[in-house]
């Protein structure tokens, strides 16, 4: 009889487990996955004027700034999504 009582008490103990819900880290927007152009514009020719050089430099700066915007956006996206993800897991 006492063994039955011990079994009864043992069965009252609770089990512990994790909540069976998995959180998926969100996908990054395609726009932020675009790679930067591999090659910057170079200046070719025998008689290149200061005007041609300035225009080439301007084009390359434009490429850099476009790339920088995407890079900054990627960092911002990651930080925001990490924060949201961590808040949801609390």
């Amino acid at each position: 009889m006492k063994y039955l009582l011990i079994l009864l008490v043992a069965m009252l103990s609770a089990c512990s487990t994790v909540v069976p819900v998995t959180a998926k880290f969100p996908d990054i927007p395609e726009r932020l996955l675009e790679k930067c152009p591999f090659k910057l514009k170079t200046v070719e020719g025998e008689t290149v004027t200061i005007i041609d050089l300035t225009k080439t430099v301007t084009v390359n700066y434009e490429t850099y700034h476009t790339c920088a915007v995407k890079n900054d956006a990627f960092i911002e996206w990651y930080n925001i999504q990490k924060h949201i993800f961590e808040e949801a897991g609390k």
Binding site: M1, L4, L7, L8, M11, L12, A14, C15, T17, V19, P20, V21, A23, P26, P29, R31, L32, F38, K39, L40, K41, T42, V43, E44, E46, T47, V48, T49, I50, I51, D52, L53, T54, K55, T56, V57, T58, V59, N60, Y61, E62, H65, T66, V69, K70, A73, E76, W77, I80, Q81, I84, F85, E87, A88
Partner: protein, 147 residues
């Protein structure tokens, strides 16, 4: 199996246990005291075990729903932020492209007419190749990194 079956089992178990242990003085019960005690205790143990399981399941289901609601909210917020970031990128990229075109146009229309620039080009019609090489090396240095 519906839950009420297990509630009924619990009630039967409790009633049987009470009858077996407390109401032993009643002649009908005293005759079957031991079988009633054993059976009712077994039913009580099983019913308690199942009741515990049901209660535990309900607690977990509630927690799952709570987490799912949190995740749905987070997902919506995440999508909202994605849209904001992409819109910002599109806006900034467009601005940079427009500014780049404007500057090129400005060079073609205004800078070429500038007296100092004209004077400079007359004195130095072509940029020395060494300077161009330095510029081109800087522009293509990424090739070196990927080698």
């Amino acid at each position: 199996m519906p839950e009420w079956v297990f509630h009924l089992m619990l009630a039967v178990g409790i009633a049987g246990t009470v009858a077996g242990f407390v109401l032993g003085f009643i002649p009908l019960i005293s005759k079957y005291k031991l079988p009633i005690q054993i059976c009712s205790l077994l039913i009580l143990v099983l019913a308690l075990y199942i009741e515990g399981g049901i209660a535990n399941e309900q607690v977990w289901q509630a927690r799952v729903k709570e987490v799912e609601a949190k995740l749905a909210k987070a997902e919506a917020k995440s999508q909202e932020e994605n849209i904001k970031i992409v819109e910002k990128v599109v806006k900034k990229t467009e601005y940079i492209k427009t500014r780049g075109r404007d500057i090129i146009t400005y060079i073609d229309k205004e800078v070429v007419k500038d007296k100092d620039v004209i004077k400079y080009i007359e004195q130095c019609p072509a940029i020395p190749q060494a300077i161009l090489k330095a510029h081109n090396d800087a522009a293509t240095m990424r090739n070196e990194v990927t080698k």
